[in-house]
């Protein structure tokens, strides 16, 4: 580890800790995985009431048992825990970057760490003590272990992530591909995947399923019944809670007739899945970039997104500086993000606090946010493919058939 980077890293973490411990008012971060729900779950657990009765708590029982036994949440420990979580995520991102370059340190490490720790989309949910910070940390750790080739740790960390939110299980395919291929950047020089590497995948899948089963067993032991499966795992698929969030599902499903609900739930869930295989196929030469794109897809189209999901997506672009010259409209998407990030809290408060607006205002701002994320995603896809073309002669142009 390069010791010149340590001061910068430490300074960032310390600043984050100060922010967490200072008595600033934290505005609402519209999410499913928020800390009041965790605290409520721990309280219910400690008073002998079933937290998974009728949707009081949507967290995994592992989280609840963790917070009620080993890591108690108080006003002091909670900011420390969340700051530690952010520090771990930033450290993981820096090491992913280093693994991608196949070096032990680089000059851009501090920048990569700062892109995570100073990203407001990451900081705000973390200050609000949302468990989505833990999901980010687990995701980045899984990526890190996969980049380093430590397949068991990677699959175990990913099994933890799947315990927290089942809809990320789609990402197991790119994770396994990453384990067998490696993170080194090959965007500019694509080669098809070796077919004999595909034979390495089934044992990995079996190992992942084994870890998942074990963790499911631990979760069932912790909660004492199987009620948590429907409340926690099935929540992203059944959409029981239509509280407004930054995503695109809630408004659609508030207006849905019950008759059509199962069909559209299926459509929306399948919609998440259909991106996985094509992106893995198209970016088989650089599956880390494919993972990055899939994070973008999930950030935009997830059922219960939080601000940390597009936050991770945007922070992770710092790991791919080779695509920066090929991003066509980064200014536009940047401004869209600025626009959306200002409008979202404004319209939320206008609608729900002041009462002078209505749901359509907030829904429009979520649409702008979705457009911003979608813009970044499309731009990244195009840039990732465009980079393989390389520099062009002055009278040549790239067209799409």
């Amino acid at each position: 580890m390069d010791f010149s980077q340590v001061p910068v890293f430490s300074a960032l973490v310390a600043a984050r800790l100060c922010l967490a411990l200072s008595p600033l008012p934290v505005d609402q971060v519209y999410k499913l995985a928020n800390s009041p729900a965790v605290q409520e779950g721990v309280y219910l657990l400690q008073h002998g009431l079933d937290p998974y009765y009728e949707g009081a708590v949507r967290h995994s029982p592992l989280l609840l048992s963790l917070f009620s036994t080993v890591l108690p949440l108080t006003t002091l420990t909670a900011p420390l825990l969340w700051t530690a979580c952010d520090a771990v995520s930033a450290w993981a991102l820096v090491n992913i970057w280093r693994a991608r370059l196949n070096v032990s340190h680089s000059s851009r490490d501090a920048l990569v760490a700062a892109s995570y720790l100073l990203n407001p989309y990451i900081v705000m949910p973390s200050l609000a003590l949302s468990t989505s910070s833990y999901e980010n940390a687990l995701c980045l750790l899984a990526l890190l272990f996969a980049c380093r080739g430590q397949r068991s740790m990677s699959l175990l960390t990913f099994a933890f992530l799947v315990q927290l939110s089942l809809s990320t299980v789609h990402l197991v395919i790119p994770l396994m591909l990453l384990i067998v291929t490696g993170p080194v950047s090959r965007l500019a020089s694509p080669q098809p995947l070796d077919t004999d590497k595909i034979k390495l995948l089934p044992p990995l899948a079996a190992e992942f399923i084994l870890y998942s089963l074990f963790l499911t067993l631990a979760a069932t032991i912790s909660s004492g019944s199987c009620a948590w499966i429907e409340q926690s795992w099935m929540a992203p698929f059944l959409l029981p809670d239509l509280t407004p969030n930054t995503g695109l599902w809630w408004y659609y499903f508030t207006e849905m007739f019950d008759h059509f609900r199962p069909f559209f739930l299926m459509v929306f869930s399948v919609h998440l899945f259909i991106y996985v295989i094509p992106i893995c196929l198209k970016f088989q030469h650089d599956i880390l970039y494919g993972w990055y794109l899939l994070l973008g897809v999930f950030a935009t189209f997830k059922s219960y997104p939080t601000l940390s999901d597009p936050g991770l997506f945007i922070s992770m672009i710092s790991v791919f500086p080779e695509v920066f010259p090929y991003l066509s409209y980064s200014v536009i998407t940047g401004l869209l993000h600025l626009h959306a990030s200002l409008l979202l809290p404004l319209f939320h408060s206008l609608w729900l606090t002041q009462g002078t607006g209505n749901a359509n205002f907030f829904y429009a701002s979520t649409l702008v946010f979705g457009m911003a994320n979608g813009g970044v995603l499309l731009d990244s896809i195009r840039a990732g493919l465009r980079i393989a073309m390389g520099e062009l002669k002055y009278d040549h142009d790239v067209v799409q058939e």
């Binding site: 048992s65 009620s68 080739g149 430590q150 068991s152 870890y211 963790l215 631990a218 032991i221 004492g224």
Partner: protein
């Protein structure tokens, strides 16, 4: 051998002592337990109903049957005054006397000569009016067998703890009552409807009162339990109207209903007058007909059945004693706030101290103490008796799952790959 027999002897003595103790404890408990259940006059005569309903039917139309509508409206006013809410009253008036073209006092219905009390007023709720008052609708109301589109205000939503007061007035005869001048309901129909109500647990007790000619025949066919019935005249007798009003021009009230309403004017919600008192006021000289009572299907003694059991919507509240004061480390070091003396078992609202509460400003300590005691009460009520064993198993489960997870992480970490 000897030690074994000694041990056996000890065991027998211990068991005998235990039995004796439990018997004594049981005997000691029996007294307070029985007192608790017998608090309201004993289980034999206390009414076990929890809500009251009334079905008031005036079955005849046209202006000259003004008195039947006044009968029903008089009963309506009485039961409302004694506490049955509009939501629990089904009022069926076959014609509109108040807004009749022949009514010299539009919008008003009077039940006495001289027009001292307007029964129509501006706060009445007629559920079935005009041509909706039919035999079919009446039976549907009683039995509850209605189309799903019928609104709640037209339904008799009784349960097995409801006391229902059914009052019918109109023109009747031997085991029939005329509805709307074109159909009639028979005593058998009503008896069968009441039996349906009994089988569907739609009433706890019924008081069936009917004011027509030959009214007692209407309840002669009942066969369901817990029905008390009274009527205005015997078979072969007519029931008579009481008085005319010379400006309205028609008879305004019937004798039977008039005297019953007169009795009710002396009743309020707290009255302990019994149904026997009401039936004791029946007098042939006043009614000019033999009013009858049928109590053989009714289980309770009439002198212990309150009038308000049927005519009023009286609820019974039980005041529980305050729980003992909780002492312990949570007590603030200065329990003497503005309330002065030591607070023992401070309830939420204590009448003796309410004036203090309003007059003085409580210091922070006293208010905090009161809030803590309040919270303790609420918490104790909410949580009940925590099960120590379930608590322990829960903690064990949480730690077990955390341990399993840590073992897995450690094992995978050790492998290094």
């Amino acid at each position: 051998m000897r030690t074994q027999s000694v041990a056996l002897g000890y065991y027998i003595v211990a068991i005998a002592l235990l039995l004796a103790l439990s018997a004594v404890a049981g005997a000691q408990l029996a007294g307070p337990v029985e007192d608790f259940f017998a608090q309201h006059g004993g289980s034999a005569s206390a009414s076990a109903h929890t809500n009251n309903w009334a079905v008031l039917v005036c079955a005849s139309r046209y202006w000259f049957n003004y008195r039947h509508m006044a009968n029903a409206l008089g009963m309506y006013r009485t039961v409302k005054r004694l506490g049955i809410p509009d939501s629990n009253i089904i009022l069926m008036l076959a014609d509109d006397a108040a807004c009749n073209a022949r009514n010299k006092f539009p919008g008003c219905v009077y039940a006495n000569q001289g027009r001292h009390l307007d029964l129509y007023g501006d706060n009445i709720e007629v559920d079935y009016r005009g041509y909706e008052v039919t035999v079919e609708n009446f039976l549907r109301v009683l039995t509850g067998r209605m189309d799903a589109s019928v609104p709640r205000s037209k339904r008799l939503l009784t349960d097995d703890r409801s006391n229902v007061f059914v009052y019918m007035t109109g023109h009747g005869g031997n085991e029939f009552l005329k509805f709307q001048d074109n159909e009639e309901i028979s005593a058998f129909d009503i008896a069968d409807a009441l039996e349906q109500m009994w089988q569907k647990r739609r009433y706890h007790e019924i008081l069936f009162m009917v004011d027509t000619c030959q009214a007692n025949t209407m309840f002669s066919k009942f066969y369901s339990p817990n029905v008390l019935a009274t009527g205005s005249s015997e078979l072969g007798e007519s029931s008579y109207s009481h008085e005319n009003d010379y400006d309205i021009g028609v008879a305004v009230i019937d004798k039977f209903t008039h005297y019953i309403l007169q009795f009710m004017e002396g009743i309020n919600k707290t009255s302990q007058a019994s149904m026997q008192d009401l039936f004791n006021t029946y007098d042939y000289k006043k009614f000019e007909s033999h009013a009858g009572v049928r109590a053989d299907l009714f289980r309770r003694p009439l002198d212990r059945t309150l009038v308000t059991d049927f005519f009023g919507g009286v609820a019974q509240a039980e005041i529980l004693p305050f729980p003992p004061d909780e002492s312990g480390p949570e007590r603030s070091p200065e329990p003497k706030g503005a309330l002065g003396h030591d607070e023992h078992a401070v309830g939420v609202v204590s009448p003796a101290r309410s004036s203090n509460f309003n007059d003085t400003v409580l210091s922070g300590d006293a208010r905090a103490l009161q809030q803590r005691q309040f919270d303790t009460l609420i918490a104790a009520a909410a949580v009940g008796h925590p099960d120590a064993w379930a608590d322990a198993t829960r903690k064990l489960r949480a730690w077990a799952s955390t341990f399993l997870v840590l073992v897995l992480v450690g094992w995978v970490g050790m492998r290094g790959k």
